[in-house]
Amino acid sequence: MGWELEGMSLDLEVELAGLRLRNPTVLASGILGSSYSLMKRVEEAGAGAITTKTITWEPREGYQNPVFVDLGFGYLNAMGLPNPGMAAFKTELKKAAENIRTPMIASIGGGDEGEFMKVAEHALEAGCDGLELNLSCPHVSGYGLEIGSDLQLTCRIIGAVRSVSSKPVFAKISIHQARPDVVSRYLGSGADGITAINTIRAAAISPESMTPILSNIFGGLSGPCIRPITVAVVYEIRREFPDAPIIGMGGVDGWRAALELILAGANAVGVGSAIARRDLDIFGEIIEGLRRFLTGKDFKSIKELVGYAQRL
């Protein structure tokens, strides 16, 4: 591509498994990444890369309301992977591939190797710049973490998708897969990078109604409250795998949080549920904050900060 994205400037630019991002912010999967028009808005807000909502082969309705709880310190959601299915999503992906210059990573969901493969192939055909395998959604039966809990199956899926993909493949993991031995197997099976972490299985009960709040009872916890967990996961993966491309996500709610994950070892940081409180302005705030920090500390590039907290 011969042109430069607006907002591209050397100080914040990062390279992620071959993708070139104008800045280290990445829209997290499941957040506004369900149509071309929404992704376009996210690009305009400044995101360095955009991940789509997880796409399955068949359309999925998702769960009944309530599907979302704002807990103050974080959020609980059980959307149930609603999406129009690959056939319908492909139209959006194609429009996005044509009109969005920020790298677009398609999040792939599947209940077995075959579904992962089919969805991945179509996503690549539609022109996405990378794939993220959802091996970690903690509240959809037959998908996500239920696949991710089977190490052999997961490695087979990673290997199979890798073998058909010309674009980088990220394995998106949960807290339960955040162990050096598991990550090592994922990388060994062909994952080009790691996205960490997905939401953590959780629930909320209202004392007033004496019932669970989510219609699905179980959901996933995100937001600031999981950031310390994300920091530990990213730190440890970076320590064990000095060269692995890592998208750190979980609890980024501003530039300080983004910086914390970068210092721990993330090459790029996902922005997800914080948009509920900060809206799309959060991308600009993170970008500005990181740039101010770099300047104040006399660093030339954000790349110098990746894993900086590990220096002793």
Binding site: L32, S34, N65, P66, V69, D70, Y75, S206, E208, T211
Partner: protein
Amino acid sequence: MSYRVGKITNIRSPTNSIKEYEIILEDPIEPEPGQFAMLWIPRVGEIPLSFADAEGEYIKFIVARVGKVTSRMHDGLAIDDRVFIRGPLGRGFRQVSGGRVLLVAGGYGLAPLYFLAKRLKADGCGVKALLGFKSDEDIFHQEEFGRFGEVEVSVEHGLSGYRGTVLDLFRGMVRSGSFDKVYVCGKEELNLAVSRECLRVGVPVEASFERIIKCGAGICGSCSIEPLGLRVCKDGPILGGEAIAPILEADES
């Protein structure tokens, strides 16, 4: 906590398919007209409802029987029952102060406009409300609107008021050129038709839109309106003429 607890203090059934719920919350809230709440009925479901009124701890919802949750509400809720709400959510109407204002409501779309009329009147506007219903038995809230200004009612099949759609009634009226602002809430076709007309004659307009609301927090993408990806729960539900124009264009093409 995530939800505020409210207690139902009064229920009215102005028509067969509409119920009004008066609710007292534990703490006061300050919604703007046009904003909405997510109302959760444990073990049943959660739906978006516009504030039809609000004052301190007091709020009112006007609910049409449509499907699962609204039917369970109509059939099951009683005075003293508790309901759970989160909100106010979304962006409300941008109010003008002073001037002549036209409100156009289709059916239960009058809910946010009633709340708006009350505020506009207090701010010194001259309010005229057009309330559209299917038939005579569906008419409600005519007198309530009367407290804040003029009211005209339209029915498609019946004997009361104007005979026809509220859109027809509106068309005749807006060309008079005597309104400084138009607010509309009804089915999408009504919203778009009224907006198109206003854009044509150059009267500022705002409309209240509906989509399936899930997160209500602007993150899940469920409530997006094409072609610009405006989210009903965050960028709306109230959109102004500039935001509606691209929707009209997409609608026409």
